[in-house]
């Protein structure tokens, strides 16, 4: 579904990604994990085009994603939903308007159609009763669920999550992960940058471990956690699990 070939990205002197290649198939739930500064968020942002890679190509369904080919590129990007660490909801709009905006403006749905879809998705994330609230009156967990619903309104084939629970209070992490788990159950292809090892192990189908801008290990979740091959992955896992 998505194929990344020889991706390189530098921020000045910093080599955020050094020759990264990755392929994700339909229905996979891939967890990108690694120490901070390993390049996992940069990789995710490059896949969506929020960062422009210095080198390398990205293919969606075997078709090159080329920013020069504007119309096509726009359409390709619209197949991906993106969820941010800091939610990035529109604070001046109600929850319902947050969900309706791009549906009416980008997909050209009528207000009724959009609202129907929005309410359906709010129900799915368990926030139907918050449709008229403003984002600043929601808890972090609720904001993130709204953000997920907002991305889903666009009918993406694939969802990208950039540390979706890192900005949340501990007691709100689960409600967000549950929503993501439910998405996975329904067959959504997902790439998740996360520090939630429990989620990566139990819900994720595959783990891609990055360090210093390189993919060090790429394995099925259970195998990665029970039997990591590289020293760097072993070292990382020994640091994140407190025993």
């Amino acid at each position: 579904m998505i194929r990344v070939e020889h991706l390189q990205k530098n921020f000045g002197q910093l080599h955020a990604l050094k020759d990264v290649s990755l392929e994700v198939d339909k229905g996979e739930i891939v967890s990108l994990i690694g120490p901070s500064g390993s390049g996992k968020s940069t990789l995710l942002r490059c896949i969506h085009g929020l960062e422009k890679p210095d080198r390398g190509n990205i293919y969606m369904n075997d078709e090159l994603m080329d920013p020069q080919n504007k119309e096509k590129y726009r359409e390709q990007r619209n197949h991906m939903g993106f969820v941010f660490q800091h939610f990035n909801l529109f604070p001046h709009m109600t929850v319902l308007d947050n969900l309706n905006l791009a549906q009416t403006e980008v997909l050209g749905r009528s207000k009724e159609e959009a609202t129907k879809k929005s309410l359906e998705l709010l129900k799915r994330v368990g926030l139907q009763e918050k449709k008229d609230a403003y984002p600043n009156n929601l808890s972090g967990g609720q904001k993130q669920r709204v953000a997920i619903a907002r991305a889903l309104c666009m009918d993406p084939d694939m969802m990208l999550f950039d540390e979706p629970t890192s900005a949340l209070d501990p007691e709100m992490i689960k409600e967000v992960l549950e929503v993501m788990k439910d998405l996975g159950k329904h067959g959504m292809t997902m790439i998740v940058v996360t520090h939630e090892m429990g989620f990566a192990r139990k819900v994720g189908s595959r783990v891609v471990f990055l360090d210093h801008g390189e993919i060090i290990e790429d394995a099925p979740s259970e195998e990665f956690f029970s039997n990591p091959k590289s020293d760097r992955a072993k070292d990382f896992l020994s640091k994140v699990f407190y025993e």
């Binding site: 085009g49 001046h92 791009a102 980008v106 991305a151």
Partner: protein, 227 residues
């Protein structure tokens, strides 16, 4: 000090000063509005992809902010008639209020450019990214997401720009506009008492500026409702 207060403080004179105050207020309102239009253009230029537009925007702001408004008014007052004469061959009977409003608008436009630009920059970068991932065009993003939020940030400094303009409209007295300050000087000369009409003028200025501050605070509160 107030040697002729009783003679100055008549209904007729107060109305005369009141008329001057209305002229000051009118010039300030017009300049603020035209200045905001120029500010939108200036901010767009400064944010443009094109170097030449950015350069024009920067040039405008730096030239205007770097010179006194009084000088700008005086230059416009002397330059416009000579250009008119050069082009048409006729002598221009100049309307000093019009010149005043033009000069103040151009001046205010430079400050508004910076206000609007910093308002737009003040909106969280994540908002642009969220719009990008939802497929909104940059124009849709600007119109529907960024400007409504920037507006809230811009209101307080625009209120203080308005107050500045009311006070600075007094500079047009130098080219003969009979606004509030000039009106008080006229009364001062008539009664050989400067302090009494000046004090009345100060009171008129304060009534205008304090009212605007008050309204401004009210507007800010209403805008903050969704925060």
């Amino acid at each position: 000090m107030f040697v002729a207060l009783d003679k100055v403080f008549t209904m007729e004179n107060v109305l005369y000063l009141g008329k001057g105050a209305l002229i000051s207020l009118g010039m300030a309102i017009l300049s603020l509005l035209i200045g905001l239009v120029l500010g939108v253009l200036g901010a767009s230029a400064k944010r443009s992809r094109f170097f030449i537009l950015r350069a024009i925007g920067n040039f405008y702001v730096e030239i205007i902010r770097g010179t006194p408004m009084l000088l700008q008014i005086l230059m416009l007052f002397s330059v416009v008639p000579s250009i008119y004469t050069a082009i048409t061959g006729n002598v221009l009977r100049i309307n000093v209020y019009l010149i005043g409003v033009i000069a103040m608008s151009i001046n205010s436009g430079a400050y508004s450019t910076e206000l609007i630009r910093s308002g737009i920059n003040g909106v969280d970068k994540g908002q642009w990214e969220a719009c990008e991932t939802l497929g909104l065009s940059s124009w849709q993003t600007m119109k529907l997401v960024i400007l409504p939020q920037a507006f809230k940030l811009i209101v307080p400094p625009v209120i203080s720009e308005f107050i500045t303009l009311i006070k600075d409209s007094s500079l047009t007295s130098c080219i003969g506009a009979i606004e509030l300050l000039k009106a008080s000087q006229v009364l001062g000369a008539r009664y050989y008492d400067a302090m009494s009409p000046y004090t009345l003028a100060a009171i008129f200025y304060l009534i205008m500026t304090i009212s605007i501050s008050y309204i401004g605070k009210h507007v800010e509160k209403r805008l903050a409702a969704s925060d």
